[in-house]
């Protein structure tokens, strides 16, 4: 009897699966990806940005980043600028939120001034790079609508392809096509479509390494702008997890002012 019920259940499973709409499937994939990426508590990492123009001119920016996981809300980020030397001591504090607008403050050391940035600026370039603010701040699941498209092999890895549509009217994109590998739900590639719905940029993420036995982090990201031929490469180094960072000590306006 039990065996028979089990058989019927297994026969039904494919039907159950197909009953899931592409929207639900897309959401499930990102929920799974989010679940796998959460629980890190806090991390510190060094970032090098290499900006290149179509002509081959290069410029380098070196940043240090602290990130804090906030239960039931978006993450907090503190970014400190090391080079170019003219910006030494400048820093950015960002609070992501699941639904409301993110909060961002910039610290300008020459005047000791903390300045809040309008959220509309999220679609603007981050430090003149091909990354917009919104590409780098925490990508909360709630910020998008999803639609599963297909599964395909990308660079030898079977991947889900999901389209996600930003809910925020101030986003610079109409949609993003995201490739996540089926094995670990890591983002491998994102295509960004601008407000006119034409392909603007492609991001590829490589050199994934496993940290703390649980967290996959890309060591390299490469963003190319198809419309300007400019590109930006990000190199993430020295991931350090669970440093005991505290909300009030490390992620307040005060910490923005005194950070070095």
């Amino acid at each position: 009897m039990f065996y028979k019920a089990f058989c019927i259940l297994t026969l039904l499973m494919p039907c159950l699966a197909s009953a899931v709409t592409p929207e639900e499937r897309g959401l499930q994939i990102f929920q799974q990806a989010d679940a796998r990426a959460s629980g890190f508590q806090d991390l510190e990492v060094d970032l090098t940005m290499i900006l290149r123009t179509g002509r081959g001119d290069e410029s380098l920016r070196e940043l240090r980043i602290k990130q804090l996981e906030v239960p039931d809300d978006g993450d907090k980020l503190l970014v400190v600028f090391d080079t170019p030397k003219a910006y030494r001591g400048s820093a950015l504090l960002s609070f992501s939120h699941k639904v409301e607008q993110d909060d961002q403050w910039l610290y300008l050391p020459a005047m000791k001034r903390v300045k809040k940035i309008a959220s509309r600026n999220k679609s603007g370039p981050f430090l003149s790079s091909e990354f917009a603010f919104e590409d780098l701040t925490a990508q909360e699941v709630e910020k998008f609508d999803y639609r599963y498209e297909t599964s395909e092999v990308l660079d030898g890895q079977p991947c889900y392809v999901v389209t996600r549509i930003p809910k925020d009217e101030y986003s610079g994109y109409t949609r993003q096509r995201v490739w996540l590998d089926e094995a670990e739900y890591r983002v491998q590639k994102i295509e960004y479509y601008d407000r006119k719905n034409s392909l603007l940029k492609t991001l590829t993420m490589n050199d994934y390494q496993l940290h703390e036995g649980k967290f996959w982090k890309a060591g390299r990201m490469f963003m190319v702008n198809h419309q300007t031929r400019k590109s930006t490469e990000l190199i993430w180094e020295h991931f350090r997890f669970r440093n005991g960072l505290s909300d009030q000590r490390d992620f307040s306006i005060n910490s923005l002012r005194r950070v070095r």
């Binding site: 510190e44 060094d46 090098t48 290499i50 900006l51 290149r52 123009t53 081959g56 001119d57 290069e58 410029s59 380098l60 070196e62 240090r64 080079t83 170019p84 030397k85 003219a86 030494r88 409301e100 607008q101 005047m111 000791k112 001034r113 903390v114 300045k115 809040k116 309008a118 959220s119 509309r120 600026n121 679609s123 603007g124 370039p125 003149s128 660079d155 101030y170 610079g172 492609t202 590829t204 490589n206 060591g219 390299r220 490469f222 190319v224 300007t228 590109s231 490469e233 190199i235 180094e237 020295h238 350090r240 505290s246 009030q248 000590r249 307040s252 306006i253 005060n254 005194r258 070095r260």
Partner: protein, 529 residues
């Protein structure tokens, strides 16, 4: 002979495609050669992380056997500089050598020659990847920074007292920072010096900061000489009061003198609460007789007077609560102490020359700064009410800033700033030029590799028709240099009457009279070390 690129270690395919085409014309950097392919790949992977660029392994056959050479795809100074800063040895492979490799490969790419190739193996040393351990970019416990600046001002005409049209100067700012106790304690030392060729008052030294900090879990304590800024508006910083203005540096009042203080800051769920005890007072700096951008009557800073019997040794206090929720953020404070703005009292010297002597009264000032960000719009308000300087009076700046991201289909962010500056004292407000003024500004951020930006502003007194046009523009020249351009045009007021200087200064409709001959452009080149 073959020179075969074995693997693009850990690399995005798109990056290598771009880089490889460039490599056809460029010289390479070689970071070492190995007999063992695994060693070469390990070293390449390590270098890739350390240098942040594509590092490949090339197989090179020579009479003495096969070598695996670790090399870059290009010989950019950026890569070389990073290698030097990390103590990684490298050698340059010349264009001719690369060309030889390529031509010999082209002749017979399939059959490697056994003749010794003319190319350099560059190194038979075997760099040890372990020597280049992961080092975080955390600042070392002690750190020096130096900025050196060369500045020149050019005025359209000589001053009303015959001051020179050109005003060159140099400046230096040092900053020493040291942290200990697990970053819980730190020391900051930041002296500043300017040497001005024309104006002896502008040649000055100041300790901008010299303080010790202790950081607790939800509090900070700072003791020493420090700078603190409050405010949200762009054209005039009304609520900012802790530090005295270093007016000789720039008449925009954005340069400040160091203020001795004990500053305790509490971080709570309901906001940040700051307590300040400010022992000692710093007098405002004013341009000297030979300087420009000054009042028509010289200011005698050697004979300042005070309302307080303790004079410049009076201890001032301030308290401020700041918080943010949703799109709104604000700060409310009260300050009790010596006014940072002096009254200027005419004084007849024995020589028969009139001077103005600064007189510092004791004031109580309550202030508010608030900003609400709604979509594209940032609404801003600064307001104060002050007593102790004649009758109690109020003043405010209010306005908005709107940013257009990607203006005109470009990468440029265009900011539009509109502010209204009001002071209840009207024309009696001799400590400020802004009593009923409209300010308009555009901020251009070009988002290019040189971080070019410009701010063009226009402040217009709606009652008296006096105006100031402001230009500030900056761009980086490479990693360590910055070029700053600044210019101002003053208009709408009459020149001061040489026969009745004091009377013309007392004319409330003509407060900017002294500046009418001071239109200028300033170029400043700063080198960061």
């Amino acid at each position: 002979m073959k020179a075969l690129i074995l693997g693009m270690v850990l690399l995005a395919s798109s990056t290598s495609a771009v880089a490889a085409t460039t490599a056809e014309t460029s010289t390479l950097l070689v970071f070492g050669s190995f007999r063992n392919v695994q060693n070469a790949e390990n070293w390449a992977a390590r270098l890739q992380t350390l240098l942040g660029t594509t590092i490949v392994v090339a197989e090179v056959d020579r009479a003495d056997g096969t070598w695996y050479r670790v090399q870059s795809l290009r010989a950019e100074t950026l890569i070389a500089r990073r290698a030097e800063s990390r103590g990684i040895p490298y050698w340059r492979l010349l264009d001719s050598e690369v060309a030889l490799e390529r031509s010999s490969r082209a002749v017979n790419p399939q059959a490697p020659s056994r003749n010794p190739p003319p190319i350099r193996i560059a190194s038979e040393t075997h760099p040890d990847p372990a020597q280049h351990k992961v080092s975080t970019r955390f600042r070392t416990p002690a750190d020096w920074e130096v900025d050196l600046g060369v500045q020149s001002r050019a005025f359209t005409q000589s001053g009303f007292a015959g001051q020179d049209r050109f005003q060159p100067s140099v400046s230096a700012r040092l900053e020493y920072y040291r942290t200990w106790d697990n970053d819980r304690q730190s020391l900051t030392v930041s002296p500043f010096l300017r040497l001005d060729v024309e104006d002896s008052e502008r040649t000055h030294f100041d300790v901008r900061e010299l303080f010790w900090s202790r950081v607790g879990d939800d509090w900070d304590l700072h003791v020493g000489v420090k700078q603190v800024f409050w405010g949200v508006t762009e054209f005039h910083h009304l609520v900012d009061i802790i530090n005295q203005t270093d007016l000789v540096e720039n008449i925009d009042a954005e340069d400040k003198l160091g203020q001795p203080m004990m500053h305790l800051s509490l971080v709570r769920d309901w906001g940040i609460l700051d307590f300040f005890v400010l022992p000692g007072f710093r007098e405002r700096t004013f341009a000297g007789e030979d300087g420009r951008l000054r009042l028509a009557v010289p200011i005698d800073t050697d004979h300042a007077s005070y309302a307080s019997a303790a004079e410049e040794l009076r201890t001032d206090v301030a308290i401020r609560w700041s918080h943010h929720f949703g799109p709104l953020e604000f700060g409310v404070y009260h300050f009790s102490g010596t006014s940072r703005d002096p009254l200027l009292t005419p004084w007849l010297q024995p020589s028969g020359q009139w001077v103005l002597r600064p007189h510092y009264t004791v004031i109580d000032q309550t202030g508010l700064d608030a900003q609400a960000i709604v979509g594209d719009w940032a609404w801003k308000l600064e307001a104060i009410t002050r007593s102790g300087l004649g009758d109690r009076y109020a003043a405010f700046n209010a306005g908005f800033e709107r940013t257009v991201v990607g203006a005109f289909g470009s990468r440029t962010d265009l900011g539009l700033v509109v502010e209204y500056l009001f002071d209840e004292r009207d024309d009696e407000a001799f400590t400020t030029l802004f009593e009923h003024d409209i300010a308009l500004g555009t901020r251009w951020v070009f988002n290019d590799l040189s971080d070019t930006q410009a701010l063009i502003g226009f402040i217009w007194d709606v009652d008296t028709d006096e105006y100031v046009i402001n230009l500030e523009a900056s761009r980086r020249l490479g990693d360590a240099w910055t070029l700053l351009l600044e210019g101002r045009i003053f208009g709408g007021a009459d020149d001061p009457d040489a026969g009745a200087l004091l009377q013309s200064l007392a004319d409330g409709d003509n407060k900017s009279a002294s500046l009418q001959r001071d239109d200028y452009i300033q170029i400043e080149l700063t080198r960061f070390f």
